[in-house]
Amino acid sequence: MATKLSETGYLSEEELSVRLPSAKRMRRGPIAVVECTQDIPCNPCESACLAGAITVGQPITLLPILDEEACRGCGACIPKCPGLAIFVVDCSRPGDMGTVQMPYEYYPLPEANEVVQALDRRGQPVGIARVEKVTVLGGYDHTALVTIVVTKDLVNRIRNIKLLRES
């Protein structure tokens, strides 16, 4: 089936919109965004969720369904997705700023408070962002979680970072 994703490698606004949580839920606290749109037999996200908020069911080609109310935005699912397709966004803080938490598997890892370039799904720079937190755990098996601070209007546009250090 022809989709923007299968033609270019990035989701169209429409393809993404059906995977986004409601604006109301996003304002309430951190929430996972599961950008999984193809019927691949795969379900580690289901068992990864500590709150039971992700359902794949049978057959395992079904797309994961996120229960917005049950999801706490803890991010446990992020490193478990083999496709690195899950992010946690938070628009609940007072003011303009929100956060995006993403899987990151490059060297070197950014450090907390480091300023990095924020990239969209096409790798285009969309301004700079401060790294709030970098989480590395053995159980994540070399998938680090990086949380960056960006303006709320960009939390569902930014999906990667680029370090600004001299290489």
């Binding site: 598997e105 490059y106 060297y107 070197p108 890892l109 070399h142």
Partner: protein, 107 residues
């Protein structure tokens, strides 16, 4: 170039560094790696020339099937460098262009 820090594989590697010789010049190599890896790491992608038309050739399949990577190793010609491990002091010579095989072909 060598990848010293890898996000998944880490930074530790087994095997100590040794020296092998390519057309007389020293090249650093890691014990246990294939000759081709050491040469590619040193920036040397051209491994030989074809005998008749002197065209450059290098690694193609990387798993010992295509024979594009062959070189003369310690006097033995047509050694597949992508599946042959380095040994300290190993002598590697390019084949083709100026080699005896090329001269025989031109006669």
């Amino acid at each position: 170039m060598r990848v010293t820090n890898h996000p998944i594989l880490g930074s530790q590697q087994s095997g100590s560094m040794v020296t092998i010789y390519l057309d007389g010049d020293p090249v650093p190599a890691r014990e246990g790696e294939p000759i081709a890896a050491a040469l590619v790491a040193a920036g040397r992608l051209r491994l030989r020339y074809t005998v008749k038309r002197h065209e450059p050739r290098g690694v193609f399949c990387g798993i010992g099937r295509c024979t594009d990577c062959v070189m003369t190793v310690n006097g033995e010609s047509n050694v597949r460098t992508c599946v042959t491990q380095v040994t300290p002091g190993m002598n590697i010579v390019s084949q083709g262009k100026g080699s005896t095989e090329a001269a025989q072909c031109e006669r």
